[in-house]
Symmetry: D2
Subunit: 335 residues, 4 copies
């Protein structure tokens, strides 16, 4: 970290817009990869980075970082976000019964899903959030995302990109004890600052060093708590998460993406008196940063705690949905 990277964000709780605009002025990647760029921080992942990532594969253990996609999910209908609805158009019942009309004993089952693209484990695309009407790279929001979808930064543009080194920062496990918790979980409302991130990296050791092009997976422990206690207010309620003060860290670390085990990546309630996801407003439209939400780091975190190795190869390819502003994803960590 250089001096520049250590710069502090001063939050004025009564003035979210003033604070946000000041931070956006300083932490902005517009034009960094040309006027036509659609990939933002995924540009930090180059071919050598992927070779580096593949070299992390030592024992061949794999971890799906996906939560289950089904009706028993966190969503409650906010902004029409329901849980995924999966229905069968043909089943084994019919196949066994022999009424499907196929010859020679052939039988089949088939199915359909309807779901918000951000109902469960997901990537936010660069067209997902805007800052004062402006999208990533300085484009007018209305020119980018219409009712026909994202015309510029649709998630399909990232289809072949998300292969890189992943680093788990298990903030819950690392900082829990100093917070008097033995369960490896941060309490709701806990704001993870740059200092916390630095401390976790120190505690976890050298494999946790964050470098350009990495994707950082932050484990707060809230998902573990949720699995134990029920969804409750997981979707949109109080949660541990990144502090708004991490904006410089997100910028200067030159990471390709960051994901959490929470609904919304940043701490909730937000750190202003009247605000909604202010760190998103910096991260997506100003930094071009890819955010992952509702990832399940539990099995991976267990493994990392055991072997002390916190980096891994990460393949987290979004579905190639034309014009989508986000995508469900099944991120795979390979160690």
């Amino acid at each position: 970290m250089t001096a520049a990277e250590a710069e502090r964000v001063i939050i004025d709780p009564a003035d979210p817009l003033g604070t946000i605009s000041a931070v956006a002025d300083r932490h902005n990647n517009w034009g960094r990869w040309g006027q036509d760029d659609a990939l933002g921080t995924l540009n930090f992942i180059d071919e050598s980075k992927r070779v580096e990532a593949a070299a992390l594969v030592r024992n061949g253990r794999t971890f799906s970082l996906s939560q289950p996609f089904n009706t028993d999910g966190p969503q409650k209908g906010w902004r029409r976000r329901t849980n995924p609805v999966h229905t069968m158009t043909d089943t084994g019942m019919e196949a066994q019964h022999g009424n499907q009309g196929f010859p020679h004993g052939f039988g089949g089952a088939d199915d359909i899903i309807a779901m918000p693209l951000q109902c469960s484990t997901q990537w936010d695309g660069l067209g997902h959030i805007f800052d004062r009407g402006v999208a990533w790279n300085g484009r007018a929001a209305g020119e980018v995302v219409t009712s026909e979808g994202d015309q510029v930064t649709g998630i399909e543009t990232a289809a072949d990109r998300v292969v890189t080194r992943g680093v788990l920062l298990d903030v819950g496990r690392a900082l829990g004890p100093s917070l008097g918790r033995e369960d490896g979980e941060l309490p709701d409302g806990f704001a993870i600052t740059p200092e916390h991130l630095t401390r976790v990296i120190e505690l976890q050791g050298p494999s946790s060093q964050v470098r350009r092009g990495d994707i950082v997976l932050v484990r707060t422990g809230q998902y573990a708590r949720t699995r134990r206690e029920g969804w409750g207010e997981y979707a949109g309620g109080p949660a541990p998460g990144l502090s708004f003060t991490t904006a410089p860290w997100l910028h200067h670390s030159e990471i390709a993406g960051i994901a959490t085990d929470t609904w919304g990546f940043e701490v909730r309630p937000n750190e202003f008196e009247d605000a909604f996801q202010p760190l998103h407003q910096i991260a997506i439209p100003n930094l071009g940063l890819f955010l992952g939400e509702m990832w399940d780091p539990e099995a991976l975190a267990e493994d990392c705690a055991e072997d002390g190795r916190y980096d891994f190869m990460l393949v987290a390819a979004p579905l190639a949905i034309t014009g989508a502003v986000g995508s469900p994803v099944n991120p795979i960590a390979i160690k």
Copy 2:
């Protein structure tokens, strides 16, 4: 290939059921991984296989093997298979207009998809096809897949499994010349036999050797033709594909999966007088073999033809949709 592997399937065009049942008797993996198995041939992928796969990453080039997911797709409604319908619940138009009700200039776009799980690039799950009312591993089809989904072999069981060595068999490019075609495409109705596969491997060289646990990607060239000429009858019409006679090869090669650039993996019209996808009936319920369909091998095939290396690391993780009998997938090849 041993003698056993070379055994020939004799097709009686007038007797699909007789032929199928004879082949199913000889080529069957039921019980091979225990009575409770839900993974079938994915069991061939072990941790050492994934280490082997990662070691294939040399230059860090990545290829998405996904077709685009959008309304302009191949489906025509057969068995309620539509193309994916992607709709926006919020757009940049509103964000720019400032009528979303968020504070401090925050704006957002959000979206929803409704799609058959097998509308485009996909994995068939083991609950997708049945043989005479029986599902993979000998279970009654009606006990496995009900209206609530696949209770046993739902695609979520494979969520963390599909990381292995991939091998491209570019049958179109390799055999085209001997068929008098310079476009690297097989004609519709062309049945790829075990002999063809062997010949392609010889022509492509040692990196094409197929081994236990591999996922084989067969390129027929039909998708390239389709992109050029329009979808036409891509979904369900005549197509090049695997001959029913490849059943022993699929069995004895001990591959973990096989994917093609066609709608239905096997040659169409099928090689019987009155039949429907007879090779599926062997592959899925009897072998427990994972089939990928409608993959896009074009960019990868171009690269392989250039560098002469036909194997790569493949990560093709299905979405973790509970109880699904298939899943859209964005398969990533890494070289």
Copy 3:
């Protein structure tokens, strides 16, 4: 009411199956309209009945008995029942902006809905409920409703039928005072017996007489309470409703249908120790009776209370969805 009609149902709370089967034996319309019948009690509506209904139109006032269809609805995901999700594929924002690609200033908005057919104001079709594996008219349930829908009694068969005399029985208003309530609402868990129905008819006067072919609308007041207090457990929780003891009344009254302002028509908790909607099990498969649920009788009830006239012309045509086991409906009462 004849003596037969007055017969009493004795509920054994510990033996739902015994009670249900005894009642089903006595109250059953199978074969009444022939072996091929798909309409059940809608057969009670004949052409003269519709002429009678039209003659009830005196002042031309109309009342929609539909609740609003939107995301802010009662459903919570039970058995994959979500609230309706309505999304726009084109909007006035784009039309005004001029980016829709149409000539001469033409602009358009278009939309899509995804919804369970029984998510809000609805008719239950005759394929919706079964009694011990048997559907209406004695057919095997599995022969009637497969994954492809209701092959026999799909709601489309009723498309042109539901025009008849409607009668409002405002049980909440009529009996509230005797229950010490001045709000015109029955408490949750209140079981409406045949005696209650008779008493309401007496209190409301001659226009409330129920006759063959009528559709009866029972107002409990729960929906009014819900609009005031929030959905709470409206979908599936405790509610006032028909007692299981009304089975003979439902049979002998020869009504064509009955609807309530509650989620589930019958009283909840049900009147057995361990039961689920036992009166449905009589009404639909045994009587062939059409049940309406989640209707909004409020404005109509207000009008009836004012003019003392409780009968009206009712047109409540389901959508003609092929093979559906229920349908959303906008029932129109005309006075």
Copy 4:
């Protein structure tokens, strides 16, 4: 018809915008029902009109004017309009098998639909079409219909309104002979002028007189042809329909709505060199006129031809979908 009503529209095929704007200036109902109006021509239906309609019920025959809603429909994906997809979440197969988890032999089937609101028999809402960025009653299109739906003229506002006198103008049957056709069908591309409408009314007799508040159902015969020959280009292809020159008739007749048996109400190809549905651009945003499309008049038309009575009570209530710009409908004609 007064002289004003007889005014002629002169079409300049090369200047759709000039022609449309001239007609829009003369034929416009903005402000007629106040600045807050959301109902347009439905205001022509008053209570006495409904009493008049009910008095038309003589023999109690009913006709559903709905086409079937299922996957085998006319849509081909244009602007994401698919056919309705109806899926089962529970079936009689499971109920019969006894694996649904309910007590006392209770079994159930349940279902879901996903569909464009204008995929089949439908009402266009007043937020469906705009004229140069302006919606019904002179409102800015972007203020009316956002991604959250129609904020002003959502179809739910019409939920209790559509009960009135219906008049069938069977143009196919009436004019067919003079066109040398004995099949009662107009050829595709046939433009129905005001003179044609007048002639049909004369031929059919006094019951066909069109009066204020009526809903007119125009039968071209194209749907009959489609049922016989297959959907072909029914959705968006050539079709008989209203000529742009009927704009004054639509205005001065003071009808509440008009419906046809075609996809798009007006003649196709449209009567300009480069145009898209120009009569819609007058009818909806300028007149506030409700348009019905893809209605099935066949059984009703047969009955009217037999008894010579072309008017009837019409109840065509849209679903109460909050903010929708259209709605599927099952229109019921009662004679």
